[in-house]
C-alpha cells in the first residue's frame, strides 16, 4: 500500500485476497467453512532512517501544521485532512510528543514545507517542525513528510510515500512510525489488534468469531467465518498468523489462522478424544507455542513447536494450570494455577523447572498474565479480583513486587495484552452488560474504549 522511495523500498504491496474469502464464506454458509477470511497484506516494519539526526528524547515542542494539498482538487484536500487528523492522533497516542497549539500555528503564515521560515516557527516555541504535503491523482496518492530541527534548520527526515489512494490513514500511520523511529522509539501506529466478537452471531447459530482492527479502532475485518465459537487469539510474532481456540470440531482445540492465505490449520496440538486445548501463546522468537491441555487428566501447561509439533508437558499438578505467557527473553513463563486453592500467578523457567509463586496477598483471584515485551519494563499485567465482585487489570513490578491497579470502577475487566512497545495495554471490560475493547497506558492514567463495532467484543491480542 505505502511505497517508500527507491532506497527504502523493501515492501511488498498489500493484497486483498477476495476470491479466497468468497470460497470461505460460501463454505461457511454450507456448514462450517474453512474458517478464515483473508486480510490485506501488511508491509514489514519500516527500515530505520540512516541519514538522519538521532534525537535523544522528545523534549521540546513539535509543530504539526495542517497537511498542504499539492493540488487544489477535492481528492488531494480530502486526503490531506485525513492524514493531518490521523498523524496527530497517532503522535498524541504515544504521549511522547508535546504538540504546539493549533491557535499559535494559525497566527503565523502558512508553512512552505520545502522552505520553511524557521524564525516564524521558533517564534511560536517549536523545536521540531513536521511538514506534510499530499497529492491525489486518481490512481495514486503521494505524501511527502519532512521533519526539521527548527534551531539548525536541518531536515531530520524527508520521505515520500506513494500508493493506492484507498486508505490515506495507512500513510499517516507509516509516517507516525517513522517519526517515532527518529526519537529512538518503536511506533505502534501500524499495529493491529485481534479480538473476538459475537457481532455476527444469530439466534439460530450463536457464534463468536475472530476479527482484527487497526490499533485506533478503524478498519475492522473479520477473520474466521465458521459459525462456531472462536476464542483467545494469539498473534504469531511475524504477524502473518493467529493461533486461537475453536470449537469447530466440537471441543476446544487450537487452530492457526494464516490470515493472508485464508487458511487455517485445525487442531494444532493434536488433541485426541476428550482432549481440549486453549490458552495459546507464542514465544517472542515465534518458535514455540505454549498452551493448556487436559490430555493427561488435569489441565496443564505444554510447550510445543510453533506448528504444534513435539509437545512437552511443563506442569504436572492435579490442579488447573492455564494461561501461560512468555517473558521477553523467552526464558521464563508465567501462568495461572489454583494449586494453592485460588487461581494465582506463578513463574517457571521455560523448561518447566524453578516453579515459584508470583502473586502474593493481592487479591484472591489472579489470572491472564501478559508479560511486558519491552525489556526496560520488567512487569506483568494480569486480571485481578482485588475486591469482591468484578475483575480489574493490574500490573506487578517484577523487581519490587509492587502492584498498581490500572482499572477501577469500569465494570469488570480482563484479558490484558501489551502493545509491541510496551507503552499501552488492551483488554476487555464489561459495562452495562456489554463487553468492549479498552486501551490504557501503562500507568493507567488514560483509558479509552476502542470503538471496534457492535456486539460484545472480548479477548483482545495486540499484534505486531
Amino acid at each position: 500500500m505505502v511505497r517508500i522511495p527507491e532506497r527504502f523500498r523493501r515492501f511488498s504491496s498489500r493484497r486483498l485476497e477476495l476470491a479466497a474469502f468468497v470460497i470461505a464464506a460460501a463454505a461457511a454458509t454450507l456448514a462450517a467453512g474453512p474458517a478464515v477470511a483473508p486480510v490485506a497484506q501488511q508491509p514489514p516494519p519500516p527500515p530505520q532512517a540512516r541519514d538522519t539526526i538521532i534525537i535523544t528524547g522528545t523534549a521540546g515542542r513539535w509543530a504539526l501544521p495542517d497537511c498542504a494539498p499539492k493540488r487544489p482538487d477535492e481528492a488531494s484536500q480530502a486526503a490531506c485532512r485525513t492524514i493531518s487528523q490521523v498523524l496527530r492522533a497517532d503522535l498524541r497516542f504515544e504521549d511522547l510528543f508535546q504538540l504546539v497549539q493549533d491557535s499559535l500555528i494559525g497566527a503565523i503564515p502558512p508553512l512552505n514545507p520545502q522552505a520553511p521560515k524557521f524564525e516564524d516557527w521558533k517564534g511560536i516555541g517549536a523545536k521540531y517542525l513536521i511538514g506534510v504535503q499530499a497529492e491525489a491523482t486518481g490512481s495514486e496518492l503521494t505524501v511527502e513528510v519532512r521533519v526539521y530541527d527548527v534551531d539548525s534548520g536541518q531536515a531530520m527526515m524527508q520521505r515520500r510515500y506513494a500508493g493506492k489512494p484507498d486508505n490515506p490513514r495507512s500513510f499517516a500511520h507509516q509516517a507516525s512510525d517513522d517519526i517515532m523511529a527518529l526519537t529512538q522509539n518503536k511506533g505502534v501506529a501500524k499495529t493491529r489488534i485481534a479480538f473476538v466478537s459475537d457481532r455476527d452471531s444469530s439466534k439460530e447459530r450463536p457464534s463468536k468469531e475472530l476479527y482484527i482492527v487497526d490499533y485506533d479502532g478503524f478498519n475492522p475485518r473479520r477473520v474466521t467465518v465458521n459459525g462456531s465459537l472462536n476464542l483467545l487469539p494469539a498473534w504469531r510474532p511475524d504477524g502473518a498468523a493467529i493461533a486461537y481456540v475453536s470449537y469447530r470440531q466440537g471441543s476446544p482445540q487450537l487452530f492457526l489462522a494464516k490470515i493472508f492465505e485464508a487458511q487455517s490449520v485445525a487442531n494444532l496440538s493434536g488433541e485426541k478424544g476428550d482432549g481440549q486445548a486453549f490458552s495459546p501463546a507464542f514465544s517472542p522468537d515465534g518458535k514455540s507455542l505454549a498452551f493448556a491441555s487436559n490430555r493427561a487428566g488435569s489441565t496443564d501447561i505444554y510447550v510445543a513447536g510453533a506448528d504444534g509439533s513435539s509437545p512437552r508437558r511443563l506442569t504436572t499438578t492435579q490442579a488447573n494450570d492455564t494461561a501461560p505467557c512468555f517473558s521477553p527473553t523467552g526464558q521464563e513463563i508465567a501462568f495461572t494455577s489454583d494449586r494453592t486453592g485460588t487461581p494465582q500467578l506463578w513463574l517457571m523457567d521455560a523448561d518447566g523447572l524453578n516453579v515459584r509463586r508470583l502473586s502474593v496477598g493481592s487479591g484472591n483471584w489472579n489470572d491472564g498474565c501478559a508479560w511486558n515485551p519491552a525489556k526496560q519494563y520488567s512487569e506483568i499485567a494480569y486480571t485481578a479480583r482485588l475486591e469482591a465482585g468484578g475483575f480489574d487489570i493490574a500490573i506487578i513490578d517484577l523487581a519490587t513486587r509492587q502492584v498498581r491497579q490500572i482499572t477501577e470502577g469500569r465494570g469488570s475487566c480482563e484479558y490484558p495484552s501489551w502493545a509491541p512497545n510496551g507503552r499501552h495495554l488492551v483488554f476487555s471490560c464489561q459495562r452495562n452488560r456489554r463487553w468492549e475493547i479498552t486501551i490504557a497506558d501503562r500507568d493507567g492514567r488514560s483509558l479509552q474504549t476502542l470503538a471496534t463495532g457492535p456486539g460484545n467484543n472480548v479477548y483482545p491480542d495486540w499484534g505486531p
Binding site: L16, A19, A25, L30, A31, A262, F278, T336
Partner: protein, 195 residues
C-alpha cells in the same frame, strides 16, 4: 455429539461457492460496514487470490456441520428422545466448584437409568460456568464439571465410550442476566444427546 457431514464432493463445493457468491459477500458486509467512512479494504486483487482459492479447494479442511453447542438445544421435560437436548435435565454447581451436590447425584442417577435403556444413545457432557470468572480459568473449571459428571455416570454403569466431555467455560450462558439467579442457572452440566 456434533453431526458431521461427510467430505463434500469437490464439484459440489465449487458449485455451492458459485451459488452463494452473492450471499457470501452480503454476509461479510456487516463486519466491514462498521469501518468509518473512507476505510476500504486496501490493496489489489492479484494472482494470489486465485492461488489461494485453488489451494483452499484442494487442501482445505473438511466441511463440517457444527453440532449442538450448549444452550441451543432446550430440554423437553418428560419427553421422548428427541435428538438434541433430549430428556436429560441439566445439573447445577456451586460457585467455583466442580463438586456434585446430593441433588445433582440424584438427577444423574435418573439419567443413568434412562441411558441404560437407550443403548444407542451417545451424550456429550458440557461443562458450563457463570460469567464471574476469568475466561481461561472457567474453561478449566467447566472441564472439571463435565469430567466429574461423566465420572459419576460411569460409576453408575454408563459406558464411558458413550460419553464425551466438553467445556464451554462462560462462553455459552443459558441465562444472560447479571444476577444470582442467572448465574446459578449457568453453573451447569448440560447433556447434548445424539446417536
Amino acid at each position: 455429539m456434533p453431526f458431521r457431514i461427510a467430505r463434500l464432493p469437490l464439484t459440489l463445493l465449487v458449485l455451492a461457492s458459485a451459488l452463494t457468491f452473492g450471499s457470501g459477500c452480503g454476509k461479510r458486509t456487516p463486519a466491514l460496514a462498521n469501518a468509518r467512512p473512507g476505510e476500504g479494504g486496501a490493496g489489489a486483487e492479484g494472482e494470489s487470490a486465485t492461488q489461494a482459492r485453488t489451494h483452499q479447494l484442494q487442501e482445505g479442511p473438511d466441511v463440517r456441520a457444527i453440532g449442538n453447542e450448549g444452550a441451543s438445544g432446550s430440554d423437553i421435560p418428560g419427553g421422548a428422545f428427541t435428538g438434541e437436548g433430549g430428556p436429560l435435565a441439566d445439573i447445577h454447581f456451586e460457585l467455583d466448584s466442580a463438586a456434585l451436590s446430593d441433588e445433582a447425584r440424584s438427577t444423574l442417577e435418573k439419567h443413568a437409568l434412562w441411558l441404560q435403556g437407550q443403548r444407542g444413545v451417545r451424550v456429550t457432557v458440557e461443562g458450563h460456568c457463570d460469567e464471574r470468572g476469568t475466561v481461561e480459568y472457567n474453561l478449566a473449571l467447566g472441564e472439571q464439571r463435565a469430567r466429574a459428571t461423566r465420572d459419576y455416570l460411569v460409576s453408575l454403569g454408563v459406558g464411558q465410550d458413550r460419553l464425551r466431555v466438553v467445556s464451554f467455560g462462560k462462553e455459552r450462558p443459558l441465562a444472560t442476566g447479571g444476577d444470582e439467579s442467572s448465574y446459578a442457572q449457568n453453573r451447569r452440566a448440560h447433556f447434548a444427546v445424539g446417536r
